[in-house]
Amino acid sequence: MHPDLEKRVARLLRELPDEPGHPYGFGEYERRARARRRAARPLAAAPALAAMAALVVIAAVLLRFGAQPPAAHGDNAVVAARTTGGDGTGVPTAPGVHAELMEQWLASLPHEPAVVRVGTRAAVMGLEDRIAQVDDLLSAARVERAPPVHLAALRQERTRLVGTLLEVRYAETLADASR
């Protein structure tokens, strides 16, 4: 350690003269504040709109899958067949009938799988945290003049994480646009 030098640097930091003046006066501050509030107004309504859109999607999913009694009966039969080996009546069925029942049920499903929108918040936060960790490692590696191959590996990892984050956010954008 170099305590004397460190103390000198710390003292110099505290003595460092300030940059004269400040960026702008109160009038300019007020003008910028008004401009920011105007720009932020449409964004303020965004959470409410998103919540409303989520409710609409949930309602649509419930209506689509909740109001089909015949299919529900079919589903029960399949579940029963899968758990008891029979057709839901308690009478064991032949393996061929069992398979046929399952195939019928699969055939009754929509051709395209239903898209259920799950929250991406946890995934996004997790990815952002991991990017932050890599950034810290990158920063430390640069200061310590780590070998270029180490820096390249960290950059590659960062690019991969950012790519994944981009895919998640892009999927969110598409889901929003498709509503």
């Binding site: 350690m1 170099h2 030098l5 460190e6 000198r8 640097v9 710390a10 110099l12 930091l13 505290r14 003595e15 460092l16 003269p17 300030d18 940059e19 004269p20 003046g21 400040h22 960026p23 702008y24 109160f26 501050y29 910028r32 504040a33 920011r36 952002e128 990017i131 932050a132 950034d135 810290d136 990158l138 920063s139 430390a140 640069r142 200061v143 310590e144 820096l151 950059r155 960062r158 690019t159 950012v162 984050l165």
Partner: protein, 186 residues
């Protein structure tokens, strides 16, 4: 600079002259702090604007447990760190040169500057933004490692290692021929 209670009360009530008086009293020091921590002028202006807007919005919640200036400094530091933590700033790392902090801070060129201040300005500008913020908070603002860790949402060892790295780099500017210090010693 102290702000009289009646000015504070008027500012809370939205009186423009009182708000202007608070701005005149506190804006310069707040600006200097933000400028030191984030370096770039344009960015510092954004954070400064955000800080002052937050001050006026939260003024009715100010409980006078500390001077208004100290309260505002905490808001300013918090805004600076929010920027340093944001993924959008991190995304810019890819576009920046390998040299940490290179071009990140435009140093003031005040006439009469002592040679060692110029060296220190350059040394500060060469630090990565996070290390610059940590060294400034610790050495000048008087934050403890625990407080810095809390503000960054990280561990105490994060604060210590950032400070050690910052000091190692600053020492290198003042003692380029000295023995290479270990970054792990604290």
């Amino acid at each position: 600079m102290a702000v009289p209670d009646e000015v504070l009360a008027q500012a809370c009530a939205g009186v423009a002259t009182a708000r202007e008086a608070i701005y005149a009293a506190l804006a310069p020091a707040t600006w200097r702090l933000i400028r030191r921590v984030v370096g770039q002028r344009a960015l510092a202006e954004d954070i400064f604007q955000d800080t002052m807007m937050t001050l006026y919005e939260r003024l009715p919640q100010f409980r006078r447990e500390a001077p208004l200036g100290a309260w505002l400094r905490r808001i300013a530091i918090s805004r600076c760190l929010m920027y340093l933590r944001s993924p959008w700033r991190r995304a810019r790392l890819l576009l920046e040169p390998d040299e940490p902090g290179a071009g990140a801070a435009d140093t003031p060129s005040t006439p009469g500057y002592r040679g060692e201040w110029i060296d220190l300005e350059r040394a500060l500008a060469s630090l990565p933004p996070t290390a610059r913020a940590v060294v400034w908070m610790y050495e000048v603002e008087g934050y403890t490692h625990q407080e810095i860790a809390r503000e960054f949402g990280r561990s105490v060892s994060f604060s210590k290692s950032q400070l050690a790295r910052a000091h190692a780099r600053l020492r290198a500017w003042f003692d380029p021929h000295g023995s290479r210090p270990s970054c792990t010693l604290i």
